[in-house]
């Protein structure tokens, strides 16, 4: 029901929205919870296990009951707090966790058999019969369990990720946070002030206090204006600090557009990662419920939340309200309600000898022992002294005291400490270095105390920053927090809820202890208390108290469960903002990308690079057609392929040769300018790391190539070797992979093609195999390397990247005129397998130089990375798996990579395994499949027949072991 003259909502701006398909109207500034309350809606959801009717419990993000679905289609989000979600025109919301209408949930039958679903029910009930799990229990549970529904499409809504930096981060915009921000900003610090709700002020907006003789909300407005005047504060409202991480890094979610109708380009939420030099935590406190029988009915809520609804939203959750309190603070609610003209039935206080704060009926030493009302509270039973009586009420505010919101202080591993004076956990000193708690989150509940602690926390932060502290004047405010005395549970008949979302009652916790799950972490998992939406915010201390009572230990000895980020749930789409789809990994394109995609080439990923699989001609319907044609084209005429993705590292320095000698197993200091050499690199453990060619362009000037995927790792390796192991060497190097576009031109007509683009033609005598040098290409300075990965006469020509696109198109056009053309990675792979050249398919991290037949490349004349380990006896034994070639000889002609090798008569089992296949291809040159693999004692088994078995694909093929070089073993073609 709306209250006249109350609240900070904008009554000039009505807002229409939907809940469960029905239209409702509220005002701008309302949350879904306050707007539904104004419309008299009490039932907003169902509980998780028993499907009990649930109403709004709180007025903040800690809400365990009023969880709703928001939005439509793939943009729909589950488990949104109705107490946080602001209404806007056209907002679509619905309740969760029921089958059929909310009012007549079919699964509320669970409520009639609570013993069946008691603590540990998952672990006990569904154990037998075994076969029932998959077919019966799991589908039924999955249908009934889970809160909310997820959509299966990608969210169409945009979210963002941002990095923030500040001198002082202030978390919380209540009295402590405002004073901390003001102190820090006036002292010259750059401040970010974060507030979870839409407006700064927190409890000052709800409690009807005076500050400096002014209504608190006016003081808040003046303070915010003063903050803005400093020019040093970034005020972030609708922003929840979700986690504290190492080095004063904080995660936060800013609700940017989720309170507005969909606006193009406006993100729904923004995930902030904030690096603060110092921080002040002023996160306030959360009021805790009391576990009395049937305390879960709609209409029963937190006493402080009622004040918030009255004073911030101008709405009352009931017309006849009772309060059940253990402390003075809750009496404020009665006062505020009476001030708003709402009928306060009674205040039921568990303590003795207390005074009423206003004109209402007060019951001392009294407790609520039961309630009535199926879909909303209608009546409560009170026990006072020896007598019991009933009260009619449609709303009951309860308050079991306050728990400091200390979560963030525990996110990096600190444990809170018990403060017996306030019966609550408080942050341990220096829980996080540089994070200074202030106000209610450290157990100081009076407003004057919060204001002054805000100043002092900021002063600590400023001192750590070496800044002079300029303290603002402290305003006058209420300095009494009021007395409290703990009451965790009410001893009376009936179920008393601790965790409203997960339906955990005091009985469940007692049962857990009785069955041996007495540790707090065990109890949590056994009962599911504090799991899922609540995360212990409302239920934790109550459950601990019950557990402590059963085990006979105190609450501090019982301890708490672990506080982990995030403080509030974060939508995955928000946390992963920017990383959906193509945002997940950047794409690297070669300069020939447009030319090959224009030809319809399917692209394959090589690390972050995209390279063409093949370049289909019209009429080709299968990749093998294109691939076979391209292989034959290279063998008979000429082909062109972009090889720019290979890592290119340019090396300079007087000791560059010595540096290469140390990196590679073979000798490079003897390489003459104008010559190229193939090199092998090991890891320090003696296994092959990478291979490639390095060219000597001039004395003390080399350019190295690495395999595409290893480029980054090799660069880091070289930096380590240079800085850590050989700082004595005069050498400098840098990656030039993206600076040069490089194309391989391969085939018997390669030189003929090149001479059509080079300003000065070359011949075989002056530019023999493994030669390199500077050239001019259509007047552009380029580099030419005579190297071959196909076994053909081949060159790699490099030009500055800006000319890559033009040169690629020119080379391909000229190749086509010579009966050749462009080719792709599939053909490249076939050509190299025909020649027995290895790639990372073979040098996969577990092979040695010995295994790939390159033992001879391990120089005896110098030290190199991996040399000592390569002499380990175990790495040189003949029965190691060594590189061989394979060809099919039986009826089955197919080879598959990943298949394993067995003796022909052996069972294909693990113990009989003799090796495996790493690369296969259909060779159009030879007319059959060929493969490379590793076989125990392989070189000595050339000529033998074995069988390969691919258990995964169900292929068994008889093969002959052969030399890995299938084509032109003498290498004459490359030299021609």
């Amino acid at each position: 029901m709306r209250l006249d003259g109350k609240g900070q909502i904008n009554r000039d701006t009505p807002v229409r929205f939907h809940f469960n398909g029905a239209p409702y109207s509220g005002f701008k500034g309302d949350t879904v919870a306050s707007a539904l309350m104004a419309n008299g809606v009490k039932l907003v959801g169902r509980s998780f296990k028993y499907h009990r009717p649930r109403g709004v419990l709180t007025a903040g993000s800690e809400e365990p009951n009023a969880l709703i679905q928001v939005g439509e289609g793939d943009a729909m989000l589950p488990n949104v707090r109705a107490t946080v979600q602001e209404i806007y025109a056209g907002l679509e919301t619905s309740s969760q966790n029921h089958i059929g209408p909310l009012e007549f949930d079919l699964l509320s039958i669970n409520d009639l058999v609570p013993n069946f679903l008691s603590a540990g029910f998952y672990y006990k009930t569904f154990m037998w019969p075994r076969g029932f799990w998959e077919k019966v229990y799991e589908p039924v549970i999955r249908r009934a369990a889970g809160l909310g529904r997820i959509t299966h499409g990608a969210s169409p809504e945009e979210n963002e990720r941002v990095f923030g930096f500040c001198d002082v981060l202030v978390i919380g915009g209540g009295p402590a946070g405002l004073m901390a921000a003001l102190t820090a900003a006036r002292s010259g610090a750059d401040v970010i002030l974060m507030e979870e709700s839409a407006d700064l002020g927190e409890r000052l907006l709800s409690d009807g206090e005076l500050i400096d003789g002014l209504p608190a909300d006016i003081w808040v407005d003046e303070t915010v204006a003063a903050l803005r005047d400093t020019g040093h504060v970034r005020i972030m409202t609708r922003t929840t600090a979700t986690g504290a991480y190492d080095g004063l890094t904080f995660g936060a979610v800013e609700r940017v557009g989720s309170h507005l109708p969909h606006t193009p380009d406006l993100p729904r939420e923004c995930f902030w990662r904030i690096r603060a030099r110092q921080a002040v935590l002023a996160a306030g406190a959360l009021e805790r419920p009391i576990a009395f029988p049937m305390n879960d009915r709609p209409g029963i809520m937190m006493a402080s939340a009622i004040r918030t609804y009255v004073n911030r939203y101008g709405v009352t959750p009931g017309e006849k309200v009772a309060i059940f309190a253990t402390n003075d603070d809750a009496h404020k609610t009665a006062v505020e309600l009476i001030d708003a003209g709402v009928d306060v039935v009674a205040v039921i206080d568990s303590r003795t000898g207390i005074q009423a704060h206003g004109d209402y009926r007060l019951h001392h030493e009294a407790q609520v022992i039961s309630t009535k009302g199926r879909r909303g509270l209608t009546e409560l039973t009170v026990r006072s002294g020896g007598s019991e009586f009933r009260l009619e009420a449609d709303c009951l505010g309860m308050s079991g005291g306050w728990n400091p919101t200390l979560h963030l202080t525990c996110h990096t591993g600190a444990r809170p400490v018990w403060n017996p004076d306030i019966h609550a956990f408080v942050p341990v000193d220096d829980a996080i270095k540089g994070l200074h708690p202030a106000g209610a989150c450290r157990g100081t509940f009076d407003t004057a105390g919060c204001l002054s602690e805000g100043v002092e926390a900021a002063a600590k932060a400023l001192k750590a920053l070496g800044k002079r502290v300029r303290r603002p004047d402290l305003p006058m405010a209420e300095d009494a927090a009021g007395a409290t005395s703990p009451l965790w549970t009410v001893e009376a008949k009936g179920r008393a809820w601790l965790d409203f979302a997960n339906d955990v009652t005091t009985k469940d916790v007692r049962q857990s202890a009785a069955e041996g799950f007495k540790s707090v972490e065990h109890m949590k998992r056994y009962t599911t208390q504090g799991m899922a939406p609540d995360q212990g915010k409302s239920s934790n201390i109550g459950a601990l108290a019950v557990l402590a009572d059963v085990t006979g230990k105190g609450i501090p000895e019982t301890g708490t469960t672990t506080y982990r980020p995030p403080f509030t749930p974060i939508a995955l789409a928000t946390m992963g903002a920017g990383a959906q789809g193509k945002g997940f990994a950047p794409e690297r394109f070669t300069t020939s990308h447009k030319a090959v995609t224009a030809r319809g080439a399917p692209m394959m990923e090589a690390g972050l690079w995209y390279r063409p699989s093949y370049l289909p001609l019209p009429g080709e319907t299968h990749w093998r057609q294109s691939c076979d044609r391209e292989v034959t084209m290279v063998r008979n005429a000429v082909g062109v392929i972009d090889v720019s993705t290979l890592g290119k590292i340019e090396i300079f320095g007087a000791d560059a040769g010595a540096f290469l000698d140390f990196l590679y197993t073979n000798m490079f200091s003897t390489l003459k300018p104008g010559r190229v050499r193939y090199g092998l690199m090991l890891r320090e453990d003696g296994h092959v790391m990478d291979d490639g060619t390095t060219a000597c362009l001039a004395p003390g000037h080399y350019v190295m190539t690495t395999t595409t995927a290893a480029a980054g790792a090799i660069m880091a390796h070289m930096e380590f070797v240079s800085q850590a192991l050989r700082p004595d060497l005069d050498v400098m190097f840098t990656s030039v992979t993206e600076q040069w576009a490089q194309f391989s031109v391969a085939g018997p007509r390669a030189r003929e093609l090149l001479n059509r683009v080079l300003d000065h033609p070359i011949d075989n005598q002056t530019f023999p195999f493994m030669q390199c040098g500077a050239v001019k290409v259509h007047g552009i300075k380029g580099r030419l390397f005579r190297i071959s990965f196909s076994g053909e006469q081949a060159y790699e020509i490099a030009v500055p990247s800006a000319y890559g696109d033009a040169l690629y198109r020119d080379l391909v056009a000229r190749a086509e005129a010579l009966g050749g053309g462009g080719y792709g990675l599939e053909a490249l792979n076939v050509l190299r397998i025909e020649k027995g050249f290895i790639t990372h398919g073979e040098i996969h991290g577990q092979v040695t130089a010995f295994d790939v037949g390159m033992q001879g490349m391990l120089s005896k004349k110098k030290d190199f990375i991996g040399k000592a380990a390569s002499t380990r006896p175990g790495l040189l034994e003949a029965d190691r798996e060594q590189l061989v070639g394979l060809k099919p000889v039986g009826a089955v002609k197919e080879l598959t990579a990943g298949a394993h090798l067995f003796d022909r008569d052996a069972e294909p089992t693990r113990l009989n395994d003799r090796g495996y296949i790493t690369s296969v291809a259909y060779s159009p040159t030879l007319g059959h499949f060929i493969g490379l693999g590793f076989l125990r004692d392989g070189p000595n088994r050339v000529g033998h027949h074995m069988k390969i078995v691919d258990h995964l694909r169900g292929v068994t093929t008889e093969v002959e072991i052969c030399d890995p070089v299938f084509f032109d073993p003498e290498g004459g073609r490359a030299r021609g």
Partner: protein, 87 residues
């Protein structure tokens, strides 16, 4: 976690990658397999507490650093360039 690179200043952890314990700097002499080589490659004390680790500022200047830090609290006590540690 943030690491103070002597070249670049205080930078986010994600610009760095870890290689392992600082033992990696003490490459043994000798070009054949030995107990020293075995220790160097394979044997680590794996202490919980203050340790010296090798980190690479690959997302920055490319420097290799020795980071003196606690693997329990993640507190960093200091960073040095490996080239300076060696020389």
């Amino acid at each position: 976690m943030h690491i103070n690179c002597p070249h670049c200043g205080d930078r986010d952890q994600r610009e760095f990658s870890i290689r392992g314990h600082g033992t990696g700097l003490s490459r043994p002499k000798g070009e054949t397999w030995s107990d020293d080589w075995n220790d160097f490659l394979h044997i680590r004390d794996n202490l919980a507490g203050r340790i010296q680790e090798l980190w690479h500022h690959g997302g920055g200047c490319g420097a290799w650093l020795v980071v003196d830090r606690s693997n329990v609290t993640h507190e960093i006590f200091g960073t040095r360039l490996v080239s300076e540690v060696r020389s």
